[in-house]
Symmetry: D2
Subunit: 349 residues, 4 copies
């Protein structure tokens, strides 16, 4: 059987180029097109020398025709609002689309408009779009032709809370998430003093307090899990690492749950998941242990004094946070083994 | 008037040597003795070349006689339990003692024993010891001859919450603190794989989940502030910076408090404090802005959706977290202007 | 044909565990044994959670019998002097041995004794041992059963200088190498204040000035390349990165060599090498572009004012510096395609 | 006697704001004016919160009148070419001018034009401008009204080599400097992908190989020291620290010089210098030990095998590299004790 052909639209960003890096180790598909406006005409290995000797493909400007003719699966890594224009045409041409942006994440177009400041031009596609978190929506992803990849923070927070919310063991209006992210989460093109090395290194800060765009997305999925509207408190922090998200999530338990029961519940829930690993009792996740991979490491701790559970989740924001998840979704959409190209030990020591 | 003479017992640790660094810019006292067991006989500038040309004093082994004869004020930087032995004798000799350890922080000797695994050998001194956080106990510190310096985390959490708790505006059993600390908080002598550069850099992790020793200390002071027993949830994190603590504290407001009122309340509460700065609305604290100083930067954000306030506090764990605070207490104890030697712009850019 | 079986002796160190990481993506061999004394009885994924879900093999204590019965190829990652004891027995049992230590690097046992303070107990094996740098000794490696992997610094310095020295275009007593290394080069078990995060981060220093153990090894190979005794000046630096070596090497050119000719010479020399990439004119190597890979990036610059060439080489000290090179040698020794398991894009952004 | 009044033109850059930080601890002058175009109308503590509670002065746009009326001493931190316009007018008004740019460093206006791409509009001032390195030109600085502060790299390289060159003990065409700098050397306004955190952290690279602007400046001063034209090889490196330069300089010794003699020579040469410290034999400089200070730490190592000396120099590029040196020059120009405001222990641990 011939391999599916894959295009990456906007290939030089951090998330997109990480997809390319992972695809270099994936033997079930073939990269057939890389587009870039700013670097058109150059080879990807000239723009990003980390691909020297591994991928020397030329970057071409985006055109619908080129993508349609070259690819069966398309990863879209475009600015907010652009996928709204491109995805409908690709779907019409029978392509499978995996969108890295938020354009199809929010089911309610009004919420999209409120948070992204743009009218949603194709709300009719929203029911068709599947939120690309396989541990929550695996079957839907298998059948989807339009997948909206989750934000990097939501992936970790949702994996941390799903087992409790789904069983009604946590109060859905008590979710409290303080998350730290590496700086690659800000992307490659968003330059400026905020990400200037001398102002980031040796520094800790919170940001987005008055409303981070990942919050509505999380509340949507938390509500789905709980079967009732969820409200969460979310504080994001920027810390001086390149890759990695550590989410410290706490929730009120609706009932007494012992440490042993909590641990067993999570081990059971994620026992057959290839990428979600529950740490042994007493161990806690560290981002270095997932660096460069699609893994999410979790630990669960009951805090009887406050009646809360402390849920820790570590992921690589460019791994399970975007690129790894993108490949996992692609594998499902193409009927390939879900772990193809993703059985990787972490690069962190 | 002759200057007070100051001794530092255990001068080569991070906290103690930071006290020495700050004392080099303090013109109201005179450093008269530095002790060290491990480096006895060497000059401090040989052990710590950052003092080359600034302080070349010889390190001598500790002896009660030497300290008593050389100093009026003594900073004790010793392992847990050692200050219990030394402080009573220094007090008996009429010295003023500022202890960096936890030996005199907890008012209840049983709590001390529970958390530090040692019986408290001089509980009769506990009522005499003052918790060395000037913004909470200024007058008592002025009159004290034994000051127990707070832990680095508690300083930030208590400064963040005091205005609300004192006024009964926050529920004292709802305090939720997730804090990040730089690695110098672990000290200079606690070597090991946990602080080995390749395992710390580019890594994020939580630690001490099942009970961090700073929690009982915080709950003691939170209860005092609230006038009723407080219970808190506390998660500490280790992040790859040398200096700096960022504490993200949230509390349930007992009543609707608008953003404007919250901001005004904090500005009013800390308006005359020389070292606690409330950020302007929309600004948030960053640890680089307090690096090397005794400052604590705070921001306050009302979160009406959850009914909580988000309180952010940044300090240098070696500054307001220990050494700066030590000098601030010393100034108070000696009747010197409180800011002597501490009016410093941060070293971070 | 059945796959060769591979053992790693001393599997939890940084170099050895990086070999394991790379082997997880190598489909031509099978990992059959991992030994560790300190972590015996645990699974590798317990000791190093970066292997969770990828390799859960149990660590067993070393025994000759176990290794002989389990493996065809053995990677030895032991303390200096231990391979001297083990390698002869493994060779006698018909195994192929790849040694990570310096035990078989130096052809002159007296030089070994001088630098490592140990008598060389099996000098008769030295002529049989091949210095495991494929770009210099490919054919010998193919036929070898004992390969001594080069030190991390030498690999970069030798790749940088080989084209000039081999052609007699550089003066072999003029080699001047100032190299920077990430801290993982110090290993996982060599803990201590020198690698304590607060003393390494935000710090730059040189070390080993009076004689770094990699110098005799480099001079041996430089002399072989030049066909005449070479003497070099070598200064190593420790910088706050985890992985990466950047070597800045300069040599006196024996004749006028234009920039164009120099560039062409290197491109020609390395044109068919899969892992050595000569940067385009004006571009220079950066360690992030080789992070996690077996690549070495080079640039060459003629400096007519001083008559020297400036040769820059970047490698991952755990990649081409040890583990990648180990796999490359193994592939050659087993007759597998040389790039098997090593066609990787770098993890650095 | 009334204190001299000081203005900083362009006060928000890294070098300029570091001057302000140091001036906050200088009791011999008074800051009377801070200018900024981009942040005009704001307080310096709003733009740079590290000054909260220490300096809240308003930033005003530059005007000659304002500076002339407010200040006796003026620090100019302007883009290349701007000081050429402003300095003559300030001098005409009787002010003392300390220029941070390269506008008055090079004695030959043709060299200036060649390297900075601008004609030098006031070459008549060049003989009057003194190169602001007190250890080389102390007496001239005392009498100067125009001081051109050296570049950050040249300070370290010149201090490392001066004792040998001045005595004719080193060959002036053999100077070989490989230097590493922290990223603050690139300044606060030069944003871009080159200084974007994810591309700088965990990365090592060289830059400016084909001609760094600090080279002509160094060769000018090296030639003066040697009394004969000097030529040097210079390679600059960018490494992931905020502050700090480590220069590794080697020179050919014209004669056999023993390690003991070399050490004694340097200790003698710098024995009375308050800011240049020669490390004890076997010790080497580390940038953390000079962080935030005006110190330069040196070590000297004879390498008999190659007949060269290895000279290591560590400085804070924002300290002795610019702001500390600026205060040191100011002290000399004003007849104040040279160390006023500069007796500081380093902030690095």
């Amino acid at each position: 059987m011939s391999k599916s052909r894959v295009a990456i639209v906007g290939a030089t960003g951090y998330g997109a180029s990480e997809i390319l890096r992972l695809l270099m180790g994936h033997d079930g598909v073939e990269v057939s097109l890389l587009t870039s406006e700013s670097s058109r005409g150059k080879r990807i290995s000239q723009v990003l020398p980390r691909f020297r000797g591994v991928c020397d493909r030329e970057l071409v400007p985006f055109s619908l025709e080129a993508v349609v003719s070259a690819a069966d699966v398309v990863f879209l890594a475009m600015h907010a609002g652009k996928a709204l224009e491109v995805a409908p045409q690709l779907l019409a041409a029978g392509k499978k689309v995996i969108d890295l942006s938020a354009d199809f994440r929010l089911k309610d177009p009004a919420v999209y408009e409120q948070w992204y400041g743009l009218p949603h031009s194709c709300p009719e596609l929203l029911p068709r779009a599947v939120y690309g978190l396989p541990e929550l929506h695996r079957e839907a992803i298998r059948g989807a032709d339009l997948v909206a990849l989750p934000g990097c923070y939501p992936t970790s927070v949702l994996l941390a809370t799903a087992p409790l919310l789904k069983r009604g063991l946590a109060d859905p209006v008590s979710v409290h998430a303080t998350c730290m992210s590496g700086v690659s989460g800000a992307g490659r093109s968003k330059l400026g003093i905020d990400y200037h090395f001398p102002e980031v290194d040796e520094n800790l800060k919170a940001y987005g307090l008055m409303g981070h765009r990942h919050r509505p997305e999380m509340e949507q999925e938390l509500s789905l899990l709980a079967g009732t509207p969820a409200t969460m408190l979310f504080v994001a922090h920027l810390v001086p690492v390149i890759r990695g998200i550590l989410s410290t999530v706490t929730v009120s338990l609706t009932d007494q749950v012992s440490q042993e029961k909590l641990q067993a519940l999570y081990e059971d829930h994620y026992g057959s998941e290839p990428f979600v690993h529950v740490m042994e009792p007493g161990e806690h996740p560290e981002t270095r242990n997932v660096q460069g991979t699609n893994a999410c490491h979790l630990s669960v701790t009951a805090e009887p004094r406050t009646g809360r559970a402390i849920l820790l989740a570590a992921e690589d924001n460019l791994g399970k946070g975007i690129a790894g998840q993108a490949l996992q979704c692609m594998n499902l959409m193409l009927g390939l083994p879900e772990t193809t190209g993703l059985r990787l030990a972490a690069v962190g020591l």
